[in-house]
Amino acid sequence: MKKARPTPLEYTRKRWFQLVMLFNFIFLYFPIVALVAFSFNNSRRNITWNGFTFKYYVKAFHNESLFDAFLNSLIVAGISTVVSTILGAMLGLALYRFKFPAKNAFDGWIHLPIIIPEICMGVAMLAFFSRLNITLGLFTITVSHIAFSLPFVAVVVRARMAGFDHSLEEAARDLGANQWQTFKDVTLPYMMPGVVAGALLALTLSLDDFVITFFTSGPGSTTLPIKIFSMVRFSVTPEVNAASTVLIVITLILSVGTMVIQARGGKDKGLPI
């Protein structure tokens, strides 16, 4: 049977439109795919394919400073995720639940860390810590990461709560539950997919951050992106590709996990970011 001609709004069934989209996706994926593919290439020159190997992963794994940087990243991201998720979820819930004076202004202020250029926040944190004579290290990195991750968690949790049926809470109260019981048994279970998605987002943001970490890290507190940066400034090596691939895979798992959780939550509003 012959397929029907595309209707006017079926853009994706038009040949030239498919070409435009294809170009976009090649543009978006070619560099990353090439980077990942060549981390398995058995050649230092990194341009012609010389067979499959894992040796650069082994090398990267045995590179002590690279591995230390990876551990530092995990420590920072772990602590930052826990703190920013708890504080951010509370804030998101409050923004959903309460109205208070100057709420719009408060809203704008609380979301500033999301929108201002990273470089401005980076140098501000540097100025702040040096003014207080706090030595730069894992502590300062973690504190800064919490500050920029927290609003993201609040946004995700608030979006999740937007679909919440408030009468459920009222019913619980009518049936004799106190505030805490109502929160624990009614509100929190509904909120949970948002909290988990927010936590995964905070984890990804922390693992990925370069600019703010760059300004708040000291000599002994190199994180993985900072280490990769210092390596790529000199040359393109397969070890860097291997380390990058590891980071890509981790964030890929985290982000797909976030999207799955948000999609399962149903009734989602807004974008899966």
């Binding site: 006017p8 709004l9 079926e10 853009y11 994706t12 989209m21 170009f23 976009n24 543009f27 978006l28 070619f30 560099p31 990353i32 090439a34 980077l35 060549f38 990194n46 341009i47 012609t48 504080l87 509370m90 804030l91 819930l93 409050a94 639940r97 309460f98 109205k99 208070f100 609380i110 500033l112 860390p113 929108i115 201002i116 250029p117 990273e118 470089i119 401005c120 926040m121 980076g122 140098v123 501000a124 944190m125 100025a127 800064s144 500050a147 927290l150 609003p151 609040a154 370069f210 600019v211 300004f215 790529v232 393109v236 860097v240 990058s244 890929l252 797909v256 999207m259 807004g270 899966p272």
Partner: protein, 302 residues
């Protein structure tokens, strides 16, 4: 929504910790930089508090204004290219058949989650002298050369000279477009998705062509989302630090790099602070424009 007065304790428990964190570890640092921007640099690079506008005056000197101007037009070109590439992509995803839509959306979002540094670094391998692009060009050159010698043409092609694609400002723009593209596609997709399609169909039924419908119906209806995307990309590119460092050449310095330099090797924090606030003010103006436009065009929320 509950009034906070009816439940003061719970409201305070929920709001105060996060607000305190943002206040101390975000707002206060910005205030310090703001105060520094009126300060003076000591002979050893110390920062003395003072009240002088010299740092702002210096920021507006020709050499620094040039860097600011370069940042602005770089961000503008990046935004334009992102729109040309990204609008059809957003349209395609929004109007794709239901069964492909989520997959396409995922394909747009995935690079957005990938590390910024790694995405930028990936372009070094593509653009450098012995990179994938030059390698591909060399291959094409070789094939053409063989073809020409086959038909006994004189050696018109010459030997292959790799193009200098990396470490210049074009590379910076490519890198910025690459990093920012999803930020443009997602808000536009979100508005197109919610758009009332019968309006577009009506326009087509009433005899307007695809392009006219696009220009006079679809784009105006999706305008808040488009503006949102454009401004996100502009802000992101304007304040970039990493891309010019990794992909740029000697002439690619942008405002972010100048700020970093003043806080780093140059050790002139007051001047760096003034530049930082100049960048922030531009960002705020853009956000303000967006808020005004959003308020005027209620109805389509995004």
């Amino acid at each position: 929504m509950e009034n906070w007065r009816d439940n003061k304790l719970v409201a305070a428990i929920l709001i105060v910790p996060a607000s305190a964190w943002i206040l101390i570890f975000f707002t206060l640092p910005l205030v310090i930089v703001w105060v520094f921007s009126f300060g003076e640099r000591g002979p050893q690079g110390q920062t003395f508090l003072a009240f002088t506008l010299d740092n702002y005056a210096r920021a507006l000197e020709l050499i620094h204004l040039g860097i600011l101007w370069k940042s602005i037009w770089t961000a503008a070109i990046t935004t334009l290219i992102c729109f040309i590439l990204g609008f059809p992509l957003a349209l395609g995803v929004a109007f794709a058949p239901a069964r492909y839509k989520n997959l396409l959306l995922l394909l747009v979002i995935l690079p957005f989650w990938t590390n910024l540094l790694i995405r930028t670094y990936a372009w070094i391998a593509v653009l450098r002298t012995r990179g994938f692009l030059n390698f591909g060009l060399e291959w094409v050159h070789g094939k053409l050369d063989a073809l020409f010698s086959l038909v006994k043409l004189p050696d018109v092609m010459g030997t292959f000279q790799p193009l200098a694609l990396l470490y210049n400002h074009s590379a910076v723009i490519i890198g910025l477009v690459y990093v920012a593209l999803p930020f443009l596609v997602l808000p536009i997709y979100a508005t197109l998705e919610k758009l009332d399609r019968s309006l577009m169909e009506a326009s087509l039924d009433l005899g307007a062509g695809q392009w006219r419908t696009m220009a006079f119906v679809t784009i105006p209806l999706a305008f808040p989302g488009i503006l949102s995307g454009l401004m996100l990309v502009f802000i992101l590119s304007l304040g970039t630090y990493l891309t010019p460092v990794l992909l740029g050449g000697t002439d690619s310095m942008m405002i972010g790099n100048l700020i970093a330099q003043e806080f780093g090797p140059a050790r002139d924090w007051p001047f760096g602070s003034a530049l930082s606030f100049l960048l922030l003010y531009i960002t705020f103006i853009i956000l303000w424009i967006r808020a005004v436009v959003a308020r005027r065009s209620k109805g389509v929320s995004y």
